[in-house]
Symmetry: C2
Subunit: 368 residues, 2 copies
């Protein structure tokens, strides 16, 4: 893996050099992990003038799964208590003769930024912007393979839940049960708090599980994901509870299914993000649900569960091949509930078979 | 509850006025919750010149447990997508005729701070420092009652686990099981990621559960806590697995127990935080474990699991009555394991019976 990290750091270094910085200080945890392999939350990475240094408050913990800092990096473990690795890294940069240091202004607080300035007043600080986040958008096959395994784990956990008795159990219990199953099947942990929504809650994006119990006739929508080697995927499905769905449930489900399919089918390299959003959104819009729509119909996934690109009406930019995204339109009708269908897919060229579906649980409307 | 929040805001306003600001912008989620009752992560609170406003990107969600914004506050829900409530609040401050706005520089990123400056260039921004965190240190009886209930829940979850069969189960499963039980007993959720550590992992502070299984003869150390109405408590215990502990286990346990008791007994109003730390630390120190000691032996708890005061050798300040803290010394011997005993207590004057122990699970060395 070591080479992969070195290549990524070289790309960031090229970016910095092009914009006039001789060094960069990376502090956002997912960015540090991307460039160094270190999963430790408080570590920062100095992309230095003479060498790259991983600065940690504590030695790396090999008991954290898949936390293996690149051995090509110099590891600098701080002595003393309560110091800020970012401040320490700035001092190291100065010692290396760095004059302009690019920092992650969207991650550092005003207080930490000031502490860096005060420790190294001769250092000119600039912003590196979202450069690392941009590097992270297109994934390599190793990263996609982690997402694929995470998706398999999520599919398994969901599949097992569907075989159990659901009526009478609370949203919170079902969510905890799913999270236990994710870990059972080898996930590092859940990719985000598992959402289980029943009856009038069903279909609400980001619903946090309550003590409401599953009842006959409910819509049940579930959204979960596994983290595997740091990579986070997402799957969402909606079911009906009982022997037969009501007509309105079937209609609403078919509509959201069509919207989600339209979104999935528009995932081609070169497609504008806003066009993918529109493909899904207009199906719901034209059925009269403009008001009930969420702000986004999908987003990138990777080391964080919500990354670029964003699939929204105002999104700029186009999709590239090897970009994993969710497609997750939904409709929620206040007081009645709703439907949400969510897949993680990888954008692939037509010649490679088109978008690769990672979350393969059926999207038929199951009555459980 | 409404009055409580108003009183807290008045105290912050007094602080700001004394330091020359006419208004304050509170963005750190626990601080927003403390002053407004709103548990929503992205809400910010403007302590204005003419009125106080809670600015949210989305309407408050009444399905989140105990998320009831103070009705005396004006609620300002943003229209449009992707805006920053902090920037919106700064614009509202300007419209109220505010000239100096104190912000939480230890929470706002450089980028958000700049966006505020650019939106409201006529506003002079200063820092409010840790003023709200300082207000939060001493708890009222309502807050302590939430901590007490949380501690009861954690005690119950731990007690039930001890009645089950442990040998052969993995750290990760035991941790998940404990978290499920916390929720079963009415917690909003775990107060922090539950730590279960077996054998050579036992006694490591902040150990993240692995796939190691419980074995005969192991030390087993468990650290968990419940969140109840937003308040977070903590309990840690160490057990031995099997019929009889080894001599070294009994010795080490007795030592840590003595250190923890010394820490607990030194919790009196007016005690210096560093003296409480020293009371616990010197027991371990004088037994020759200086190297194996953690950086802190306790810390405040409340809306966050790690608050002021810090019980460390370098800590400044004294304890007040009604300050809840953990006392959690431990020793970890690399390769062998160790012991950690952790309680949440409330500092109380001698006349009221001395420190109030919230986590009442026995601290005898149980062989399970």
């Amino acid at each position: 893996m070591s080479e992969v990290y070195a290549v990524r750091r070289t790309r960031l270094r090229d970016h910095c050099n092009a914009s006039g910085s001789t060094a960069a200080l990376v502090s956002r945890p997912a960015n540090v992990r991307y460039l160094s392999g270190a999963a430790r939350g408080n570590a920062v990475l100095l992309l230095g003038r003479t060498e790259d240094v991983l600065v940690c408050a504590e030695p790396p913990d090999d008991r954290i799964p898949h936390n293996r800092p690149d051995e090509a990096l110099r590891l600098h473990v701080m002595t003393g208590i309560g110091g800020d690795p970012a401040v320490e890294a700035a001092a190291l940069a100065l010692a290396q003769g760095v004059d302009v240091l690019a920092v992650e202004e969207h991650h550092l607080t005003v207080t930490r930024h000031r502490a860096i300035r005060e420790t190294a007043p001769r250092l000119r600080l600039t912003g590196v912007g979202g450069a690392v986040e941009q590097l992270r958008v297109v994934k390599d096959e190793e990263e996609i393979s982690c997402l694929r395994i995470g998706a398999e784990i999520a599919d398994q956990a969901l599949g097992e839940l569907l075989e159990s008795i659901l009526v009478g159990r609370t949203e919170r219990h079902l969510a905890l049960e799913l999270e236990r199953r994710l870990v059972d099947h080898g996930a590092d942990g859940p990719a985000f708090p598992t959402s289980v929504a029943t009856g009038p809650n069903a279909g609400r994006p980001g619903h946090r599980p309550t003590d409401r119990r599953v009842e006959e006739g409910d819509f049940l929508s579930v959204c979960l994901g596994a983290t595997y080697r740091g990579y986070r995927c997402e799957i969402g499905r909606t079911f009906v509870i009982g022997t037969a769905p009501a007509d309105w449930q079937i209609e609403l489900y078919d509509l959201v299914f069509s919207a989600q399919r339209a979104g999935r089918e528009s995932l081609v390299p070169g497609a504008a993000c806003r066009d993918v959003d529109r493909a899904a959104r207009q199906v719901l819009d034209s059925a009269g649900y403009a008001e009930a729509l969420p702000v986004l119909t999908g987003h990138g996934v990777g080391l964080e569960i919500d990354e670029d690109p964003q699939l929204t009406p105002a999104a700029m930019g186009k999709l590239d091949a090897c970009v994993p995204v969710t497609v997750e339109p939904g409709v929620h009708l206040p007081g009645r509930g709703g439907v949400r269908i969510d897949d993680t897919l990888v954008v692939r060229p037509e010649a490679d078979g088109g978008p690769e579906l990672l979350t393969i649980t059926t999207k038929e409307l199951l009555a459980l």
